[in-house]
Amino acid sequence: MNDKVFEVLKILSENSKVTPQEISQMTGFPEEEVEEIIRKEEENGVILKYKTLINWEKAGEELVFAVIDVNVTLSREKGYDDIAKRIAKFPEVHAIRLVSGEYDFQVVVKGKNLKEVAFFVAEKISTIPEVRDTVTHFILRTYKEEGVLLFSDEEDRRLAIVP
C-alpha cells in the first residue's frame, strides 16, 4: 500500500467525518485524488464502514456486554474458521477473535440485560457441538475503547500566550 493511501486511511481512522477537501488541505494531495483513494479503498473492502464511537453508558442506554472465553474441539471437517463463522453470524455477537492462550475464541456479546446475554450464551454458543466449554465475564465498566479514553482527568493547563 502506498504512503498516500496510508495517510488518507490514517486520517479517516481518527475522524470519519473529515471531508476529502479537508484531507486535501491536510496532506497537499489534490482533492480528486483523495476522493479516488477513498472510492477505491471502499471498493476493495479496506474501508469497511463509517461508524461513530459512542459512550453508551453516558447516553443512558442500558446495554450489557460480556466477554466470553470459548474453548472448542477441532476436527478434520471443522477448523477454527468454520466455527468462528458460525458464531460470528449471530447479531448478538459484537466481536469474535481467535486468541492464543488458555482458550480459543474471545467473543464479545451484546444484549439488553444480563439474562438475555446469559441465555444467548447458554442456548446458542454452548450448544454448538464443537464448543467444549465457555466462561462468561460481564463487563462492568469500560475505560478505553478503540484507543479512546472514556474518562477525562486531564485538562489543558497551558498559558494562553507562551513566546
Binding site: 495517510e7 494562553a160 500566550i161 513566546p163
Partner: protein, 381 residues
C-alpha cells in the same frame, strides 16, 4: 529610593513585547489561543509512569553536575542521527534550552563582544546576551526569514565573536538544508566565530531531515548545540535539556552551571531517559499530526494572507501587511473581536513587524475554528 537599586543592565532590558498583550488576555474566557509555544500533547504516559515509579522509590537526590550518566550516554547516541559524532563526555544536562543558552553565552562572551542575533527570533537571545555583557547585534533576515553567507558577512567589520542560530525557528518555522548550512558555516569560519545553535525543534522538521551545523567540516569545534525535551517529547514543564560542546567550552559552561543550577531535576532526567528509549513511535505520530496541521493551516491562511510554508517547528508566520494594520493592532483587534489569540510579530524583533505568529499546536478542530475566525476577521477589514 536609590535609582541604583536595580542592576543597570537589567534596567536596560525592555519589558517583553507581549507583556501588554498578556494583560489583555487575563480574565477573558473561552479564548481560542494560537499563542501557545508548547505542544498540546501531554507528556507521553510511559515517561510520566517512569517518573512516578522513580518518585515512589525515593529517587529524589541531586545528580552530578553533569547530569545522569545514562542520560548523557543516551543523548550522545541519539544526536548521531543528526550527523554529530559526540560522546557522553560532550554532553551537559541543563534545565532546558533557556538555561543552556544563558550558560553558553556567559561562558564565551567578554564585555563588549559582538553577538549576531537573527531578527526576528525567539525572545530570550538578546536580553541574555546583554546580561552576559555582550553587544547583541540584530541581523535582519532576508525577506524569506533566512540567513545566508552574504547577510552574515555584512557584519564582518564588527568582528563578531558569536552567531546565534535557531532552526527550525521560532517564530518563523524556517529551517536550513545542508547546503544552506554549509554557506553559513563558511561565513562563520571566515570570521572566526563561535556558533550557539538552538536546535530544540529539530524533531519537528518536515521537508528535510534535520542536520546539525556542528556536523559540518570544521564546525564541531566551534559550536555549542542547545537542545532539550520540551518540544519533541512535550516535556515543557519538566525543564530538562542539554548542551553539547567541545571540551573547553563544556568545562566553562559546567563551571557556571554547577553554581547557578547545580543539576537538572532528577525526576525530569529520569523521564528524559525513558523518552529517548521508548518514544520513537509516539514522536513519529506527533510529527505526522503537526505536518497535517501545518498543511491545513497554511493552506487556509494563504487564501487570505501571505504565508511562507514553514519547514519545521509548529509556527506559521503570515504577513498581515495587506490589512494595513500593525502587528499589535491586528492581534489586539483579533482578540477583542474574535476571541482568537496570536502573538504580534514585533515581539520577536523589529523585522517581525507586519507579521503575526500562529502556533498550530492545537487540535485540528480548534485550528479549523481559528482559521474560520481569522478569515472572517480579515474579510471584515
Amino acid at each position: 529610593m536609590s535609582p541604583d537599586r536595580i542592576n543597570k543592565k537589567v534596567q536596560e532590558i525592555k519589558p517583553s513585547g507581549i507583556r501588554r498583550f498578556f494583560d489583555l488576555i487575563i480574565g477573558r474566557k473561552d479564548i481560542l489561543s494560537l499563542g501557545v509555544g508548547e505542544p498540546d500533547f501531554p507528556v507521553p504516559w510511559k515517561v510520566r509512569e517512569e517518573i512516578i515509579y522513580s518518585l515512589e522509590k525515593g529517587v529524589t537526590s541531586y545528580t552530578s553536575n553533569h547530569g545522569l550518566e545514562e542520560l548523557r550516554q543516551a543523548i550522545s547516541e541519539y544526536y548521531r542521527k543528526f550527523g554529530v559524532e559526540c560522546f557522553q563526555k560532550d554532553v551537559l544536562i541543563t534545565t532546558g534550552v533557556s538555561e543552556g543558552f544563558d550558560i553558553a553565552v556567559r561562558a564565551i562572551i567578554n564585555p563588549g563582544d559582538a553577538v549576531l542575533v537573527p531578527d526576528p527570533s525567539y525572545v530570550m537571545y538578546k536580553p541574555l546576551v546583554t546580561l552576559a555583557g555582550g553587544e547583541a547585534i540584530s541581523i535582519p533576515t532576508n525577506p524569506d526569514f533566512r540567513l545566508n553567507y552574504e547577510r552574515i558577512s555584512e557584519y564582518r567589520d564588527l568582528r563578531p565573536k558569536v552567531l546565534i542560530l535557531n532552526y527550525p525557528a521560532n517564530p518563523t518555522g524556517v529551517s536550513y538544508a545542508r547546503r544552506e548550512l554549509e554557506e553559513i558555516a563558511d561565513a562563520v569560519i571566515e570570521n572566526d566565530m563561535l556558533v550557539v545553535s538552538d536546535e530544540i525543534y529539530c524533531e519537528l522538521s518536515y521537508n528535510n531531515k534535520h542536520v546539525s551545523i556542528a556536523s559540518l567540516n570544521g564546525l564541531g569545534d566551534r559550536t555549542i548545540i542547545l537542545n532539550g525535551f520540551s518540544k519533541a517529547f512535550a516535556m515543557t514543564g519538566l525543564r530538562v535539556g542539554y548542551n553539547i560542546a567541545p571540551p573547553d567550552l563544556l568545562d566553562a559552561m559546567l563551571k557556571i552551571h554547577q553554581y547557578c543550577m547545580l543539576c537538572a531535576p532528577i525526576s525530569a532526567q529520569i523521564g528524559a531517559i525513558e523518552a529517548l528509549k521508548n518514544e520513537e513511535d509516539e514522536l513519529e505520530d506527533m510529527r505526522a499530526e503537526y505536518l497535517r496541521r501545518r498543511n491545513y493551516f497554511t493552506k487556509r491562511l494563504n487564501e487570505i494572507l501571505e504565508v511562507n510554508i514553514p519547514d519545521g517547528a509548529f509556527y506559521a508566520f503570515p504577513s498581515i501587511q495587506s490589512t494595513g494594520l500593525s502587528s499589535e493592532e491586528f492581534t489586539e483587534r483579533l482578540l477583542l473581536e474574535k476571541n482568537v489569540a496570536v502573538v504580534p510579530g514585533n515581539a520577536f524583533g523589529e523585522c517581525g513587524e507586519g507579521y503575526i505568529r500562529c502556533a498550530y499546536a492545537v487540535s485540528m478542530e480548534k485550528l479549523k475554528e481559528a482559521a474560520d475566525k481569522i478569515e472572517d476577521f480579515v474579510r471584515s477589514l
